[in-house]
Symmetry: C2
Subunit: 402 residues, 2 copies
């Protein structure tokens, strides 16, 4: 457990700073069905867990694939491993996970590409996937998030819709992927930096992305962060409990995921919704630093671009999954109500596009109503039957998910 107060922003090298998901335990990640930047190539937790040791509600130990077993594939009875991954502690307590490993790539390259708008950045993502470029990470920041991340990390970044792209492969295949990627970026009106291949340079770029949560919070002075174990479904990305906070300002991360083909429309509509909702609140917009990152000219934030400051967008767009990090005053009922209404609209927009209300954070308490809309009565009844069968006395994380 650790605490950090955000305003004014600490130095990028602040010793207490870390990726808000980086202190999750492996079993915690399995329990929430977590994923992240590498999922587009290597999959989420579910396909990477081969076996789980679970304490059942009656105290017995279950090995979901049988004790000590770890074949790459099985067709031996119902897939209990996949059932417990993402069960959010409601069926049993995970105490051991056997994971599939992936070989380290021979070579790695990272770049940042800037686009004229969020639609172009997301359309670029769709083309990258359609062209079967085996991209390892493809992360989206809208111009508000790019601005916040650049300033928070002390790197000047263009204030523009941005993709962070990482490629893995042999030297030869990497060169080919880089060329394909540059062509697709240009076709979508984007421009990219030179490729970073050294470890230190790559880590610097990713550290900027991993601090997106704190960079978003730092947009609003007075925001206090408490990140702790035992959060509900949203814990992997540091959602905060309002009651635990002495400070009125807090962050909440949305988590919809939609089919890739619908992603550009849904992102653009959500951006428009954010801007139209005037979810601006009190802005902690400090002057832009002028130091460019490796020679790219910094665009200054315009009033139009900063209107949506309280909801910067960041996303694992290769999976169709994106987050709006909403920073709001929890003691202002009117603002909290507008935030709630926005998240409901966003959830329903994703459902209408054939997506889900939660791609990786889980249902917890907050998304139970949307879960019902997503699954329908038959789906919810089936979940409840399973819960009642495996935890008849409702001992495991009661009240969550269902």
């Amino acid at each position: 457990m650790w605490e950090w107060t955000s305003s004014p922003p600490a130095s990028p090298a602040h010793p207490l700073l870390a990726d808000p998901g980086a202190d999750a335990s492996l079993c915690g990640m399995a329990a929430t069905g977590a994923s992240g930047t590498n999922a587009v190539r290597y999959g989420t937790m579910r396909p990477n867990v081969l076996n789980l040791r679970v304490v059942l509600p009656d105290g017995r130990l279950l090995h979901t694939a049988g004790p000590g077993r770890q074949p790459r594939k099985r067709a031996a009875g119902y897939d209990l491993t996949s059932l417990f991954v993402g069960s959010e502690g409601t069926l049993g307590f995970l105490t051991q996970a056997t994971l599939r490993l992936h070989p380290l790539p021979e070579a790695t390259a990272v770049t940042i590409a800037s686009f004229p708008g969020v639609g172009a950045a997301v359309a670029c993502t769709v083309q990258v996937l359609q062209a079967a470029v085996p991209v390892a990470r493809i992360e989206f920041l809208d111009e508000v998030m790019a601005d916040a991340c650049g300033r928070f990390s002390g790197m000047g970044l263009p204030v523009a819709a941005t993709l962070l792209l990482e490629l893995h492969g042999s030297r030869c295949s990497l060169a080919e992927q880089q060329q394909q990627m540059e062509e697709i970026v240009q076709e979508n009106g984007g421009s990219s930096l030179a490729w970073a291949e050294g470890l230190e340079e790559r880590e610097q770029l990713w550290s900027m992305r991993h601090n997106a949560w704190y960079a978003a919070l730092a947009l609003r002075p007075g925001c206090q962060v408490r990140h702790k174990d035992g959060d509900d479904g949203s814990s992997a990305h540091g959602a905060l409990s309002a009651t635990a906070l002495p400070s009125p300002a807090q962050g909440y991360s949305t988590d919809v995921c939609v089919p890739i083909s619908r992603l550009p429309d849904v992102v653009v509509e959500t951006k428009q919704d954010l801007q139209a909702s005037s979810l601006t609140g009190q802005q902690g917009h400090s002057p832009l630093r002028q130091r460019g990152l490796r020679g790219l000219t910094i665009l200054h934030a315009t009033p139009h671009l900063t209107r949506g400051l309280a909801g910067p967008m960041v996303g694992h767009v290769g999976d169709g999954n994106f987050h709006c990090i909403l920073v709001f005053n929890s003691q202002d009922p009117e603002e909290a109500q507008r935030i709630h209404a926005f998240t409901q609209r966003l959830g329903r927009r994703a459902l209408a596009a054939g997506g889900t209300c939660t791609g990786e954070h889980g249902v917890g308490l907050g998304k139970r109503a949307l879960l019902q809309e997503e699954l329908g009565q038959e789906g919810l009844d089936t979940l409840r039957s399973i819960k009642a069968a495996l935890d008849p006395h409702n001992l495991m994380n009661p009240g969550k998910v269902l």
Copy 2:
């Protein structure tokens, strides 16, 4: 439904011949959790199914991911899709599957490599995976199977432990993969043919592999094949029901899957077991054809190599999964008993190596006892709780799996 009588072998272009799994329906493949030659790169059915429409035992329609939904990832409640994939019809009746698609590769190349023994062929497979060559298919035939397939398909093949290798990629990455593959084959004492890149030539090679089941049956004169809908768990690969056959000779395919690191040992021990068991029966070993495939010298089968004729081995070794196709006289109780004892030893050998009794065929009726050993009492009790919760009147495929 079709029938075919095997002795003497029909021409390779026999119009009724087809891959024994190629007439499976998509929902049937989902219900059995099927997989095959491409699973090493693209995954089994489970990670490729995004949604299923299921008729529940009470007649209601369930959409496992919610009606009309198809995001690439979700964390919205228990993973019902993965639960119904591989449930073998015991929880509900699958009537619609939404699948993930993969882009067609720009270029494809296939080769056949021969090795001095089964250990070398499987060790080569392990090295290919460890070197992170993104192999699309890597299929193993022991020397008995290679001999049978070569003769059945009218292609002379070296009578040797064999790998069929397929690579997918761009032109550039394909060339690099081919070079890596050739080096690893040579390091393991193998020699490979020139790469087949044209569609017709590639299809000729795979048709030889896809007829492995019939080639194995053709080793024993008088064997009659009846492949039909409604088989139990083993149907995807054409396991036969003894009671349905007028002919006394029939085939049975084993299906263990073990962690890749244990695969060489388990394959070698199984080969020794087959040879020591003298499961030879009556052999339909016709003279080898002398026509070499693209210039490779054919080795003649030795008496030692043909001793295990009734159990040729074939495997999706990239996943650690292999089959012994046991051809036996179902009306000879002593032979049937020896077959049963062999399959039990093989299942337990796989379990002792941390594997599963079934990688892709399912449990059906025949593997219920091994399933209990594999999962332990807690696992079996958990499966039974789920079955009882979702199908309280035991209407769905009663008696199977559990």
